[in-house]
């Protein structure tokens, strides 16, 4: 049984059927990619899972618990972290602070404790700092820790997004187009990073367009078109399937 079980997930925006009865499982500890042409509904599925968008029908089970009616922050607390397609960092805040905010749900200092600077609060702050530095070192951004997020290069911003998502200490990491805009070298570094994350025991669900990247990294591929799952399976054999080629290139 997978760590994430999506069953008959559907989302209608008025008359538009964005996600149509999608059913798939994601196995724990694997890297699973969702691919498909633009507008296929990939990001919408992410939004549905993370609770940003309300689903029309269907169910999402994470670790066998239903995510129905949970708020976004509660879903994050369950163990799902994500990044965004159009980078949505906290721009006017430093790299370090961006990452620290990610740890919010794993810490608990309240207003009173913060005002009185109790011993436990100060310890917690030190822990947060140490952990954050570790996350930044993990993605290779430690030297930028005091830089404002908006001053980072594009590639570094993408890495910061991942660091911030990692700071939520997820079991499932959802990455929306993590390699878009990257050149070959950067993509190679990203592949290394993702493998390291998998080694830590996390499950990765990612959305991407680039076939080579997807083939290099994925254990499993799900193909979406017009909101429907049209194919899924092993990377090498899925891309050879007729429906998939047709979805990307059109009928011959």
């Amino acid at each position: 049984m997978g760590i994430l079980q999506v069953e008959r997930l559907t989302k209608k925006f008025g008359g538009l059927l964005a996600v149509d009865n999608c059913t798939f499982d994601v196995e724990a500890g694997t890297i699973c990619s969702i691919i498909g042409p633009n507008g296929a509904g990939k990001t919408t599925i992410f939004n549905l899972i993370s609770g940003i968008t309300r689903k029309t029908s269907g169910s999402v089970l994470f670790n066998n618990t239903s995510l129905d009616d949970l708020e976004t922050h509660e879903i994050t607390k369950c163990g799902i972290g994500r990044t965004f397609q159009n980078i949505r960092l906290f721009k006017e805040v430093t790299v370090l602070e961006n990452c620290k905010i990610g740890q919010h749900s794993r810490t608990k200092a309240g207003l009173l404790a913060s005002l009185l600077r109790s011993k436990s609060q100060r310890h917690e702050e030190q822990d947060i700092l140490d952990e954050t530095i570790k996350f930044l070192q993990f993605v290779g951004l430690d030297r930028f820790r005091d830089e404002l997020a908006m001053n980072l290069s594009y590639g570094d911003q993408r890495r910061l997004e991942i660091a911030r998502a990692l700071a939520t200490k997820p079991q499932l990491l959802m990455l929306d187009e993590p390699n878009s805009g990257m050149n070959t070298h950067e993509t190679f570094q990203l592949v290394e990073l993702l493998r390291k994350i998998r080694e830590l025991g996390m499950t990765i669900l990612l959305i991407s367009h680039q076939m080579k990247f997807v083939q290099d990294i994925s254990d499993y591929i799900i193909v979406l078109n017009y909101g429907k799952v049209i194919a899924e399976g092993n990377p090498t054999e899925v891309i050879k399937r007729e429906e998939v080629i047709e979805a990307y290139l059109g009928k011959a």
Binding site: R106, L111, L115, D146, L148, R164
Partner: protein, 329 residues
């Protein structure tokens, strides 16, 4: 290599603690040097208003909530104090916290109702409605004195010592202003403050990063209201007379002006803003009716030429000064 450990935990205290002490010392000696009662009065009002502006800054600059209701909470605190003191002979040590608590209760009620569905400018409009409704209540309810307000509020006394002179009020309000400054800085530099900032920057993403946005918006709103309520308490004691006209939505706008002109993202800036707009009316007394236009012009000029306000944000999170989107060390 930047020594992050010290900087991150208490950057304000790290570099500012020395200057802070100097400033406090200076402010403490001021009444000895300038004992002009007029000047003292301006200073006292500045301290009271700075409590309002600093708390508004927490709401506006650090949580991104534009509220036109801050004047209402100022009024709630003042009226609570007025009623407690004139009708129930309450001592200062009780009226102060009660004023704050009443403000918190109203803030939580309003916030819980409003933050559920209203975001951004819609919330601003709702806060405007709240402010107007509050004034309407002050003016129409007999128990609250109606349009005449409440008069003859007795002087505060702490453990037998009555605060009556200008000088004692000066130190009295100064202490509270300093406490407010320190406490709000502490909040901003904590996990709570980080959550607020996340909400300011990207509310949806903050939620995805684990922040209970709804709860924290209410928290920020209620905290700011608490300070405003206490400021109202001090104001009621000092003026010993309060009228509904002091707590209208225009007051709220006035407070916003102070925060904007004084400095966005800077808590000290809010104090400066309060000082400017407290002393300015007196300096401008000669031009009488042109006062309001000058305020408008100052606000407009600030927005057009220096949108971040007078005091650039001491970017405490990185020990750099943040100005107009660029950092300089």
């Amino acid at each position: 290599m930047i020594n992050t450990n010290k900087t991150d935990r208490y950057p304000f205290f790290n570099s500012g603690i020395f200057y802070g002490c100097m400033l406090v010392l200076f402010l403490g000696l001021v009444p000895v040097i300038f004992s002009n009662p007029y000047f003292l009065r301006m200073a006292i009002l500045t301290f009271i208003f700075s409590i309002l502006t600093m708390s508004l800054s927490l709401l506006l600059d650090f949580t991104g909530i534009i509220s036109l209701g801050h004047g209402a909470f100022f009024g709630i605190g003042a009226y609570t104090t007025g009623i407690l003191c004139t009708k129930m002979e309450s001592p200062f040590l009780l009226s102060l916290p009660i004023s704050g608590v009443v403000a918190i209760i109203v803030a939580i009620a309003f916030g819980a109702l409003t933050f559920r569905t209203l975001k951004g400018l819609y919330f601003t409009l709702a806060s405007w409605a709240m402010g107007e409704i509050a004034v309407s209540i002050y003016m129409n309810v007999e128990y609250l004195g109606g349009t005449n307000g409440i008069r003859a509020i007795p002087l505060p006394s702490i453990m037998g010592f009555t605060i009556s002179s200008d000088i004692s009020f000066y130190y009295f309000t100064l202490i509270f202003a300093i406490l407010t400054l320190i406490s709000i800085e502490l909040i901003v530099l904590s996990r709570i403050g980080r959550a607020f900032i996340g909400i300011r920057e990207e509310p949806v993403v903050a939620g995805v990063m684990g922040v209970n946005v709804y709860l924290f918006q209410i928290l920020s709103f209620a905290t700011a209201a608490f300070y405003a309520g206490m400021a109202g308490n001090l104001y009621a004691y000092y003026e010993s007379f309060i009228s509904p006209k002091s707590f209208t939505v225009w007051e709220s706008i006035f407070l916003l002006c102070m925060v904007i002109v004084g400095g966005r993202r800077s808590i000290i800036g809010s104090v400066v803003g309060a000082a400017i707009f407290t002393f300015l009316p007196e300096l401008l007394r000669v031009v009488g009716e042109y006062r309001e236009i000058i305020y408008g012009c100052i606000l407009l000029a600030t927005i057009l030429f220096r949108p971040t306000g007078l005091i650039p944000a001491y970017h405490f999170l990185s020990r750099r000064t943040y100005y107009n989107g660029h950092t300089t060390s």
